[in-house]
């Protein structure tokens, strides 16, 4: 399979820079898969799992926020957070899930608090799902 240059950079540093064969990410409107020779495109990312195929090997990651762009054959993924499955802190995700659930269950929480807790819960669930895939 043909490869294409892929760069994954987050505010915490460069996560990947090399040749990949396929990348599937969750955008705001659904999953978007990119193979070599893709048309120039740009899409904002939602919250979800990213699958990258490198040397025939599937690698999974939790990828949240940011954007993906493909310009002249090279693909750049600019997520707000990006964690490979084996680097996910499951304990932290668990703790965050518990806290978020507590906020949602609490009748005194304001609507903004609940909205933020829901987002946190979603992130925690994605992380846990991805961590189980490795």
């Amino acid at each position: 399979m043909n490869g294409f240059p892929l760069k994954i950079v987050t505010p915490d540093g460069l996560q990947f820079d090399g040749i990949a064969e396929e990348i599937v990410v969750r955008t705001t409107t659904g999953d978007l898969g990119i193979l070599a020779g893709h048309i120039n495109c740009i899409a904002p990312l939602g919250m979800g799992q990213a699958t990258v195929v490198i040397d025939g090997q599937k690698k999974y990651a939790a990828c949240i926020g940011g954007m993906i762009s493909s310009v002249n054959g090279s693909v750049t993924l600019l997520p707000t957070t990006f964690e490979w499955a084996d680097k996910i802190d499951v304990e932290r995700a668990d703790a965050s899930q518990m806290r978020a659930k507590a906020v949602i269950a609490d009748k005194n929480s304001t609507s903004t608090e609940i909205r933020m807790a829901e987002a946190r819960l979603k992130r925690a669930l994605i992380r846990k799902n991805v961590a189980n895939l490795k």
Binding site: K7, V9, T10, P11, D12, G13, L14, T27, T28, T29, L32, I39, N40, C41, I42, A43, P44, G65, G66, M67, S69, V71, T76, L78, T80
Partner: protein, 281 residues
């Protein structure tokens, strides 16, 4: 008489020595913080460079649509995100950036979003309207805070509260050199060469250009503000380290100078005593 002056000199030497100890300690603290901040800057720099160039590539290639983020308005309402430090004793770090902002904001209706205690205090005393003083502790501002800040700014920009948004920060060039800078965030303007060319881009926007821009621009702002914050933090520690290093050196020089004076005074006192004894006998 001679006795009094030696005592005074001795006191000064002692106080100078404790000052030197403090500046030395501060220098070492700054040096260790600098190492951490420097590592963070180096690891996050690729993100900002790529983010900046990607966004500007898109803006340059765009012929397909117009967005409020792209159009220049004639107004004078300007917002500055000003990143300074929490503490002084960092050479010109705080005053340089604040002076630069004041000079730039001269004949505009400026509103500021200060980050860091020094910036908050400064704009308070100058009575310049502030969006929020919630970020008075620059060291604890996180990536999440930057994105919240960016969303807030974008909302206000779209509502027409501001015509332009800038970020003022200190660029960490090296350990010895830091330059205060003002970077324009919004509106996104096309580079000159790109404005001349009329080639149609074949960019695919998923789902559509407007929505892409609506989602991506706040991310861009947040990312750039966070990058500026990382640069500023490293620059602050570097500035403090240099300032404290020279303060320590100055203290050492003064101590050497005073020791010399002290010894002269002591010798003079002894000579005088001997003379008195000789004359008296």
């Amino acid at each position: 008489m001679a006795g009094v002056s030696t005592k005074a000199i001795k006191n000064r030497i002692r106080s100078m020595e404790s000052t030197k100890q403090i500046t030395k300690a501060m220098e070492m603290v700054a040096a260790s913080k600098l190492r951490r901040a420097q590592a963070q800057v180096l690891s996050s720099r690729p993100y900002f460079e790529i983010l900046y160039s990607t966004i500007h590539d898109i803006v340059d290639a765009n012929r397909d649509f117009s967005s409020p983020y792209l159009s220049e308005r004639k107004g004078k309402k300007v917002a500055y995100v000003v990143i300074a430090g929490d503490r002084g004793l960092a050479g010109g770090y705080n005053s340089n950036i604040l002076k630069l902002v004041m000079a730039d904001a001269k004949d505009k209706e400026a509103t500021v979003l200060p980050v860091g205690k020094k910036a908050v205090d400064f704009f308070n005393s100058k009575k310049i309207p502030m969006l929020t003083a919630n970020y008075a502790h620059a060291e604890s501002v996180s990536v999440g805070d930057c994105f919240t800040m960016a969303n807030n700014l974008c909302k206000r920009y779209l509502a027409g509260e501001f015509d332009e948004i800038y970020v003022a920060y200190t660029n960490f060039v090296s350990v010895l050199s830091q330059t205060p800078l003002i970077l324009k965030l919004l509106p996104l303007s096309r580079s000159e060469e790109a404005a001349k060319s009329t080639v149609n881009s074949d960019m695919l926007y998923e789902p559509n250009p407007e929505e892409v821009f609506e989602a991506v621009v706040p991310e861009y702002l947040g990312g750039i503000v966070y990058g500026a914050l990382c640069e500023s933090r490293a620059a602050e520690q570097a500035a403090r380290r240099t300032a404290m290093d020279s303060a320590t050196q100055n203290a050492e020089e003064m101590i050497a100078d005073l020791s010399l004076k002290f010894n002269r005074a002591r010798q003079a006192a002894i000579t005088q005593e001997i003379t008195e004894i000789v004359v008296g006998s």
